[in-house]
């Protein structure tokens, strides 16, 4: 009996996950070596020393806590105690806004660069210098000029997601097959209509690839940015829980960051498939 590749892959995935949970559980379970010590000292040292319990939470602790969070994702008990749903919402909102601004700037600019060899050459040195700058390096400058931590985070997202989109758009537009352009030319199609009916559909797969890279980078950067600016967001949550020494919450946050990142990527992947054409 042979199963489909998909099914067999799923079985292996589940087995690996189970093994991972098992090892994690074994590695963090209580070890029975409890040393005798004065009660005051034991109090100071916490459970780690007194019961031989590892500071690292096991999978069961994380599971229980995760269930608590999922039951109540949107509670709000003041600045330092908000539901995970709210924190993720803040982060996604910032990423969405910064990303949208980047789209609005990068795609028309990319078109310009791709269609005009002059602009391509003229803007190249700027792009070459600005592109390798870590987005977080902009943070102090953004905080100083904008004076609002939340908008600064949005600005950092904008800066980091603009480059892949800009470069891919410019490349995609410049690489549109000459014969398709010639078709439009022989049909006396005007520049604007040509941009929308020939260049955009032809370059769309490349542009969407750039957008997909950008959303990934933006999601990577938002966590770091929020750790810096504080206040709200999943990045701030991670940092806050670290200060509370709640490793369980940190692990849950890491898990959720991964899941959301995957979902964002999948959405863009779906769009890419929609505009890809077979040749």
């Amino acid at each position: 009996m042979t199963f489909s590749l998909r099914f067999r892959a799923a079985v292996v995935s589940i087995a690996l996950f189970a093994a991972f949970l098992g090892i994690w559980h074994l590695a963090t379970r209580s070890t029975a070596t409890t040393t005798a010590m004065s009660p005051e000292y034991a109090k100071l040292m916490g459970l780690t020393a007194t019961q031989g319990k590892s500071a690292m939470p096991g999978p069961l602790d994380v599971g229980v806590k995760l269930w608590e969070h999922l039951k109540q994702p949107f509670y709000d008990n003041g600045p330092n105690d908000k539901g995970l749903g709210i924190q993720l919402g803040y982060s996604i909102g910032r990423v969405g806004l910064g990303y949208l601004l980047a789209v609005i700037v990068a795609i028309p600019l990319g078109f310009l660069i791709g269609m005009s060899p002059l602009m391509s050459k003229a803007l190249d040195p700027f792009i070459q210098v600005l592109k390798p700058i870590s987005p977080l390096a902009w943070m102090p400058l953004a905080l100083y000029t904008i004076k609002d931590s939340s908008i600064s985070a949005i600005f950092v997202i904008f800066i980091c997601s603009v480059w892949p989109m800009l470069l891919n758009t410019a490349f995609g537009v410049a690489a549109v097959r000459k014969e398709w352009i010639n078709v439009a030319r022989t049909l006396e199609v005007g520049t604007v209509r040509r941009a929308f009916t020939v260049i955009l559909p032809a370059a769309a797969p490349t542009i969407l690839t750039g957008m997909r890279i950008s959303i990934g980078i933006a999601w990577l950067v938002i966590v770091a940015a929020e750790m810096l600016v504080g206040g709200t967001g999943i990045g701030y949550f991670v940092w806050n829980e670290w200060n509370n020494l709640s490793i369980t919450n940190v692990i849950i946050a890491i898990l959720l960051i991964g899941v959301v990142g995957m979902l964002l990527d999948q959405i863009l992947a779906r769009f890419t498939r929609m505009v890809t054409f077979p040749e």
Partner: protein, 303 residues
Amino acid sequence: MMDKFISIEAIAKRYPGASGGEVAVFENLWLSMARGEFGCVIGHSGCGKTTVLNILAGLDEPSEGAVIVDGQAIEGTSLDRAVIFQSHALLPWRTVLGNVAYAVTSKWRNWDRARVKAHAQKFIDLVGLTGAEHKRPSELSGGMKQRVGIARALSITPKIMLMDEPFSALDALTRGTLQDEVRRICLETGQTAFMITHDVDEAIYLADKIFLMTNGPGAVLAEIVENPLPKDRGRIDLHRHPLYYALRNHIVDFLVSRSKTFTATTPDHDPRNVPTVRPGLSEPTIVSAPSLVEANSTQKIAR
């Protein structure tokens, strides 16, 4: 006066050479065609045929000279001059109907959807693609793609059709069918057509006039061969016509030997008055001296 519907006047095309200077693909090239004529250009690879066609289409600009169509110097591309590309150049994200409709809406911008669709459909039917309207180019065979290209070019009812080796990538059978179709359509609509080909038989079957170009760089239009075969020639029994071999041999001789030596052996060649040749039963006779050409050029279309 001979009706010069298309008149290429003293065009040159030069590209910057490897060692600083300029390399001329051709210099001082003259060529004219009457309305409703079918012209084929034959010449070796790299002699500049595509360059001439692109200049005629307005896709490329000559370094010197001008092209006059219907009494007006051309400036850029025009919907009056449709191009059938060698690589079919269909837009892969559009369906067959979408590709043809794109051309139709480009010509008649204020037509409504239904009208555009009906018009496009007419030309899809004409090239025998009924039923494949909603297929994408990737789902079509090479011959079908080329048919879409033909439908697209015809749908804008151009005054001139320009074809750059339109059938060279097709198998012999498909090529034959499409040649029949192009010939039928051109005769029915009185199209003026300019086509590049490497296939001597294709030229003999389709063309009224065959333009022979020498090898590049510095190619010249050596000779204009008038097709002595009757207008109602069929593709199948082409080779049975008594003049077929005279014509074919003349063209093949040119390609095999004279295209290389022409410039050296004919120093007094006048690019403005290219000799017109009409291969006959005996030796091919030069009927040129432009006055004679006029007498011979009875390009009335059989309708």
